[in-house]
């Protein structure tokens, strides 16, 4: 029987390249990186092949189907609720034995299995050669060697998938269990009133009911995996690059200083490379604004439309696009840190410090992700399995200044401070954000009691992976574009709204709606040394953080001349600017973040409490920063 359409689930240990394969086959954009636990939900996409259709589902990484983690529960439930036609087990050639364990368990349960032997390129570099034909013969199923991140022979894979789906149930390899286990399996099968309880269900019943036998079963599978690996694998052990690097990266004394230098260097690079590009974009938009102010009226465009285009749209867009280079560079750096596998070393170095303030070392990952986008930070919190750790990660990662905020911060800092001290000011702001996360964790610990089953830390330490330049650039470009798309409408809309509020009613600027709102709040702002323009910018930043800068662009274009950076420095003192940034960094994360907090925790009161909490914190920090700063100036 030939099937017209096939469903195929990608199953494998964490970090073996399931999502890389999925993206390569389907053109999807699942998160890729060199650490365990990136994929947290099932994701399905269809592919057409020779008039037939295959629907692939990418799944989180698992070590078994026994519900030892949230991911395993999810995968097992998914497979039971919607059994696929074929299970595609991705096996990491770098770690054949442990990966085969999962392949054997999948084979025991689902029968129709294809093995994709991934990362054979990296395996080769480590002196590992695997006889895949022999493995296929021993297992009785297709084994396809591949490099998911390189040239991929998709047709060979599709053919194998259809062949396995179409064939009659074929005898495949079965794990030999010791007699005591076999007896228990037979007993479990007999106990069920339905005749012919599938063997794997009986095995599962034994595993769940008897801890002693469970160890025997797992041990037998591992013994089988080890024996298979021994027959198919030739290994010439060499001291790998990873061993050499880790001797320094994880060094007891030098590990942490090296980490700080790495982060400082990467962030410094972001600033120094992106600043000239930002200036260029700024200049381009200034020129466009000027040009439309002079030429459009001559073409008969009404004054109001000229004002909307030049002072609303162009200056708003210019202000936002000006920090696009920073954002692109940030994505680049972020990609490097996570795709090399360095992020795992950071978690290793930081865990003890993190646990001291009630955090799991793995929380570093959502927190770092939060610096790119709070929404992704919150989503990355799913790698923490305990409810308490997740709550803290979700709340704390929204205090990471995201790339939108960082862009604004970098822009303001470089406008107000000379190059040397700019880096220090930036570091001070980042340190403040870290302190805030610690505070949030501390408060959360007082309010929520940690559940007894705290997240296990145990995870693999992957070999280093040199990011592929093409992939790196494509990914950075895609993320930057995605970011642009995400903010495009908001930016255009907020530019228009702010332009409207700042142009009407016509007359002196102080009469406009925007000025009236700002002026009404000025007494409050005075406590922080913030003038009404800055307050208006904060209000405009609530739906999307980047609008704050857009708004400043629009406000000052209508009252002044020259590039935004120059205008700002002539209106605002460095201390007020710093205070503004402290408040800006802390108050209400963007609307999308607030909504994601709700979606992840399914709890409006926590989401709303986090908004109030952030306002309270920002007011406190603003008061502190301004009043302490005044003492020194």
């Amino acid at each position: 029987m030939t099937k017209k359409s096939l469903s195929v689930d990608l199953v494998g240990n964490p970090n073996v390249g399931k999502s890389s394969l999925f993206n390569a086959l389907t053109g999807a954009a699942q998160l890729i990186g060199n650490w365990c636990g990136k994929t947290t939900e099932a994701c399905t996409t269809k592919v057409a092949y020779r008039g037939r259709e295959i629907s692939f589902t990418d799944l989180p990484g698992v070590y078994g189907f026994g519900h030892a983690s949230r991911a395993e529960t999810l995968v097992d439930k998914h497979l039971r609720a919607d059994p696929p036609d074929v299970v595609l087990v991705i096996v990491d050639a770098l770690n054949l034995e442990r990966n085969l364990y999962l392949a054997l368990e999948a084979l025991e349960r689902y029968g129709r299995v294809v093995v994709l032997l991934n990362k054979i390129d990296a395996a080769g570099e480590h002196g590992i050669v695997i006889d895949h034909a022999r493995l296929a013969a021993l297992l009785g199923i297709p084994v396809i060697p591949a490099v998911a991140t390189g040239q991929l022979d998709a047709a060979a894979l599709y053919e194998a998938l259809f062949a396995v789906a179409d064939r009659e149930a074929a005898p495949a390899y079965t794990v030999p269990y010791p007699p005591a286990v076999e007896a228990a399996i037979a007993a479990a099968a007999a106990q069920s009133d339905r005749t012919g309880l599938a063997r794997w269900r009986a095995v599962e019943a034994v595993e769940e009911s008897d801890e002693e036998l469970q160890v025997e079963i797992i041990n037998a599978r591992y013994a089988a995996a080890a024996a298979l690996a021994a027959r198919c694998l030739v290994h010439h052990p060499t001291e790998s690059v990873t061993d050499k690097l880790d001797r320094w990266a994880l060094h007891r004394i030098w590990g942490v200083p090296i980490m700080l230098v790495v982060f400082a260097a990467l962030f410094y690079l972001t600033f120094s490379v992106s600043r000239p590009l930002s200036d260029l974009i700024g200049a381009l938009f200034d020129w466009l604004t000027e040009a439309s102010l002079t030429h459009l009226p001559a073409w008969g465009v009404p004054d109001l439309a000229v004002s909307l285009i030049a002072e609303g749209l162009l200056s708003g867009l210019g202000a936002t696009l000006g920090f696009l280079p920073q954002i692109a560079m940030f994505f680049l750096v972020y990609h490097i840190i996570q795709d090399t596998g360095y992020i795992v070393r950071v978690a290793f170095l930081m865990d003890r410090v993190m646990t001291a303030i009630g955090l799991n070392g793995k929380i570093f990952i959502p927190l770092v992700a939060g610096y790119s986008c709070n929404v992704s930070g919150i989503l990355a919190s799913r790698i923490l399995t305990s409810r308490y750790d997740r709550l803290v990660a979700v709340l704390a990662s929204s205090y990471a200044p995201c790339s939108a905020r960082l862009g604004v911060m970098v822009f303001m800092v470089s406008a107000f401070f000379p190059s040397g001290s700019a880096t220090l000011v930036m570091l001070a702001l980042l340190a403040t954000s870290v302190a805030m996360m610690a505070t949030v964790a501390f408060v959360a610990r007082l309010v929520v009691t940690a559940d007894d089953e705290s997240s296990p830390f145990i995870s693999e330490v992957p070999v280093y992976h040199l990011p592929d330049v093409k992939h790196l650039l494509l990914d950075t470009g895609a993320r930057t574009l995605h970011f642009l798309k995400r903010i495009r409408n908001v930016i255009i809309l907020s530019s228009i709204v702010v332009w409207y509020l700042s142009s009407f009613p016509a007359g002196p600027f102080e009469n406009t709606y925007l000025a009236r709102i700002g002026l009404a709040l000025e007494p409050v702002g005075a406590l922080f040394g913030l003038d009404w323009q800055l307050i208006v910018a904060l209000i405009a930043g609530i739906p999307a953080k980047e609008s704050a800068l857009t708004t400043l662009g629009v406000i000052y274009q209508t009252t002044g001349d020259g590039g935004l950076a120059n205008v700002l420095t002539s209106h605002i003192s460095p201390l007020a600017a710093f205070t503004f940034l402290v408040v800006y960094m802390t108050y209400i994360p963007c609307l999308a973040t607030v909504i994601t907090i709700y979606q992840e925790l399914r709890n409006w009161s926590v989401a709303i409490a986090s908004v109030y909490g952030s306002i309270l914190l920002s007011v406190l920090l603003g008061l502190l920063s301004y009043n302490i700063g005044k003492l020194f100036i």
Binding site: Y63, G64, G66, H67, A68, S69, N95, L96, E97, R98, Y101, E211, Q214, V215, I218, N219, Y222, A226, L250, R252, I253, G255, V256, V344, A347, F348, L349, D351, R352, V353, T355, G361, E453, P456, F457, I458, S459, E460, V461
Partner: protein
């Protein structure tokens, strides 16, 4: 068993063998599924700056785990 210690006490670079997994439930299953089963050779590669977590080598893979988790792995020195 004579000479049995838990992995959190083990010295770096010693050749060790797993004797049993202490504890129960998900944490125990996790260790077993990752290949830390009785009889498996295991080695502590290094400890982090504050002596926690530890990096271990087992079945050709490198794993990071906390001292608290290492406490659940009973081992004996080999040879």
């Amino acid at each position: 068993m004579s000479g049995e210690i838990t992995l959190d006490m083990a010295a770096e670079k010693d050749a060790l063998k797993v004797t049993r997994i202490i504890g129960k439930g998900k944490a125990r299953l996790r260790l077993l599924q990752m290949g830390i089963t009785p009889g498996t050779p295991i080695e502590v590669l290094r400890r982090a700056p504050l002596a926690d977590p530890v990096e271990i080598a087992v079945r050709g893979a490198k794993l990071a785990l906390r001292q608290a988790e290492a406490k659940n792995i009973a081992v004996v020195k080999e040879g």
